[in-house]
């Protein structure tokens, strides 16, 4: 009996924690940014190529939402030329100064928490975990933030001969190992993160045209 009560309590606690906090858009709507500067990404994964690859996925979803997005490659190269090739330095620099430099209304900071593939015995799982923070260029205040985790595991054909299953798992693992599908997964993460209504941001000034 106590066990049952305990498990119910535990369940309540777990589900209670899981409910997503409804985001407060008051600051975002007050700031009404027209343009977003995407600065180089901080990488906490071991994959050194992750930040650049990720950078290629982030412009389109934001521009399609109706924001002016600064050209990411130009921004990255300019910061590198100014000795700011370390994205950690850029993320810690003053938001106001950075925005002034580019004339941006807001700055988007992305951190890659996870960007890897796990090779399990019977399947391979690709993981992408990203944190997005948009800060106001004038005040430096956080206007919006979100964490998005995506997991991809190739579909296993259930049933059939166990040996056939094992072979297909090995093949899947080999494919994922050769070229883990991070970029489509990162794009999916971006799409989900920016969906509005939802966790995302309201449409920008060019959305209606």
């Amino acid at each position: 009996m106590t066990r049952l009560i305990l498990s119910i309590l535990l369940m309540l606690l777990v589900t209670g924690c899981a409910t997503a906090k409804v985001k407060d858009y008051e600051k975002f709507n007050a700031a009404k940014p027209r343009s977003i500067l995407i600065v180089p990404v901080v990488n906490r994964s071991v994959e050194v190529t992750a930040p650049d690859y990720f950078l290629s996925t982030i412009t389109i979803p934001l521009a399609e939402k109706g924001y002016y997005v600064f050209p990411v490659n130009l921004v990255k190269r300019m910061l590198e030329d100014d000795g700011l090739s370390d994205s950690g330095l850029v993320h810690n620099a003053s938001v106001e100064k950075l925005s002034n430099l580019f004339g941006a209304d807001a700055v988007l900071y992305v951190t890659i928490n996870q960007w890897d593939a796990q090779y399990l015995v019977l399947s391979t799982q690709v993981n992408v975990d990203l944190t997005y923070v948009i800060k106001d260029g004038k005040t430096g205040d956080t206007l919006w933030e979100h964490n998005q985790k995506m997991v991809y595991s190739p579909q296993q054909n259930s049933g059939g001969h166990p040996l056939a299953q094992l072979i297909s798992a090995v093949v899947n693992a080999a494919i994922a190992k050769a070229a883990p599908n991070y970029v489509p997964l990162a794009s999916q993460a971006n799409n989900q993160a920016f969906t509005y209504p939802g966790p995302g941001i309201p449409p920008g000034p060019y959305a209606q045209q």
Binding site: R34, S35, T49, D52, Y53, L55, S56, T57, T59, I60, A63, E64, G66, Y67, Y68, V69, F70, P71, V72, N73, L74, R77, F102, G103, A104, D105, V183, S187, Y206, Q209
Partner: protein, 136 residues
């Protein structure tokens, strides 16, 4: 039965057209090309060509995405093609008022470097005169 078939065809068409992503801008594979550029940085020429294509296509359909003129201008700038770079920085500025601060900066940088290069060229030709003079 015929009606059913008709319904099925209509439904398929609806699903198919629904699946075609309607984008605001003509990206024309910009994301893929940027990815390729980071994957094979040595093939930068391909990136330049691609950006030009995105612009041409975008202008044809009237949907040039934000930032693309500037991105193209910057690769020209890096190649030392300053006059053409300025042309594209100006295009970006005219189309997107949000880019004005950055584009003004880029244009003035490009002008400065172009002027410097011009000076250097002049000074090297000036230098070469007395050398040949001494030789005489």
């Amino acid at each position: 039965m015929k009606k059913l078939k008709y319904c099925f065809v209509m439904a398929t068409i609806l699903v198919l057209t629904g699946c075609v992503p309607q984008t605001k801008y003509a990206w024309n594979g910009y994301d893929q090309k940027l990815y390729d550029h980071y994957k094979n940085p040595t093939e930068s020429e391909q990136f330049v060509v691609t950006l030009k294509e995105v612009i041409e296509y975008g202008e044809n359909v009237g949907k040039v995405p934000p930032g693309i003129y500037a991105e193209y201008g910057y690769v020209l700038y890096e190649k030392g093609n300053f006059n053409e770079a300025i042309l594209y920085f100006k295009k970006e500025q005219d189309k997107w008022s949000e880019s004005k601060v950055l584009m003004t900066k880029m244009i003035s940088n490009a002008n400065k470097i172009a002027a410097q290069n011009e000076k250097r060229k002049e000074s090297t030709t000036e230098k070469s005169v007395p050398i040949t003079g001494d030789a005489k």
